[in-house]
Symmetry: C2
Subunit: 239 residues, 2 copies
């Protein structure tokens, strides 16, 4: 457990527009700054929280990259999401005061710790924060609907194409390239998220390379033909 009590100000944070509501009064921002007083570092390969642990806080990712996954009793394992800077993690713990999934850092990471009882107290006074919380949870629900569509009705190529487009779009929103990315997860983790075996993920990457849609060198991916990927995700209806 690596806690720092160094004050960090949301007001200065370059991720503010990703994780906090906009248009707050300075006084409201101050109160949020007080709430987010603690940061925590999470080394690559270690967990931020684990299934079964008591839920106390939500976490805003400042740097680094996480996966969340659930395990069924018989040992099956499902990656439920990959989270990057500016995203909120831990919402699963609210229902039963215990986390129901594991959050593992895929690279050295740092998160802002936001004690949930303080979030609730503060959102009773700061309407914008209250509304923001609701939006964040609703957004997660809608995201998961999309994953259900993917898992329920798409073929392997479509899943991987959708996955790459989603990743690169989120990275681009954070100032990274629209066409190049480094995968922080293994083929197996991608496969678990997409409901595929790692061999299928690998083969599908190879197919994309053959078709000149992407270049792949291990975890480095360059997208050559974004529209090609889009056409794979959304094949044209026979007119």
């Amino acid at each position: 457990m690596n806690l720092q009590t160094i004050k960090v100000a949301c007001s200065n944070c370059n991720l503010r527009e990703l994780c906090m509501p906009m248009g707050l009064k300075p006084e409201e921002l101050d109160r949020i700054d007080q709430m987010v007083a603690v940061r925590r570092k999470v080394k690559r390969g270690t967990t931020l929280f684990r299934n079964g642990e008591v839920f106390t806080s939500l976490y805003a990712i400042r740097t680094g990259f996480f996966k969340t996954s659930i395990a069924s009793e018989d040992g099956r394992d499902q990656v439920t999401g990959f989270q990057m800077a500016g995203e909120i993690i831990g919402l699963d713990g609210i229902v039963n005061d215990h986390h129901t999934c594991d959050a593992v850092a895929l690279e050295d990471a740092e998160v802002c710790v936001m004690p949930f009882d303080q979030i609730e107290t503060l959102s009773r006074e700061v309407t914008a924060l209250q509304h923001h919380m609701h939006k964040i949870m609703s957004r997660e629900i809608v995201r998961e609907h999309g994953v259900m569509l993917l898992l329920g009705s798409m073929r392997a190529e479509e899943r991987l194409a959708a996955f790459l487009l989603n990743l690169v779009q989120r990275l681009h929103a954070r100032g990274f390239s629209q066409s190049e990315l480094i995968l922080r997860m293994t083929r197996e983790e991608i496969g678990s998220y997409l409901g595929l075996k790692l061999e299928t993920v690998s083969r599908t990457f190879s197919k994309f390379v053959e078709d000149g849609i992407v270049e792949v060198k291990q975890r480095h991916v360059r997208i050559i033909d974004t529209d090609g990927l889009r056409r794979i995700v959304t094949p044209q209806m026979p007119s």
Copy 2:
């Protein structure tokens, strides 16, 4: 659009413990009653709301049975859930002030209309309501994690067994039988939810019948061997 302005009291509602927080003061219950002043009837086959419509309210199901589904641009369709009495529907609309899925009644239904701005106002004053809202949204996120596990890693028999167990458990919590249920949805809708084709759903039902685990006559299902179903969902590890 079928609106009723008949006052209905949460305080008298037999579904209260399913959809509202417990342990409210009488005065707080009154205020919630005021908020939920309107009910709406939804005829079988019609929509409560549709993808793209402006979001204004959440809905608590009083009677009836719904499905929610999303459609991708190329016409694919994914059922994201089946909802029954006491459950809350419409959470997807909060993020962008527009609904992102369709909610269709699978039998004649009645819902309590809860204007979302009033929910937010009231949750600032009634802590229990605020916390309850957070739990409902978190519960939905956790439920969807479970569906992702199902879609991502289970075989057809496991999916259908898990589906039946989940349905019958929810029905039992509402006072219905632990072993008998009537499916309100078609094989195709079950298949869409489970990421299977309707023929596969039908064949899997037939297999369960052959194995003496259930009896099926059209949409009437009687579960003979609940443990048998459980063993299908969670096969024992080779020890």
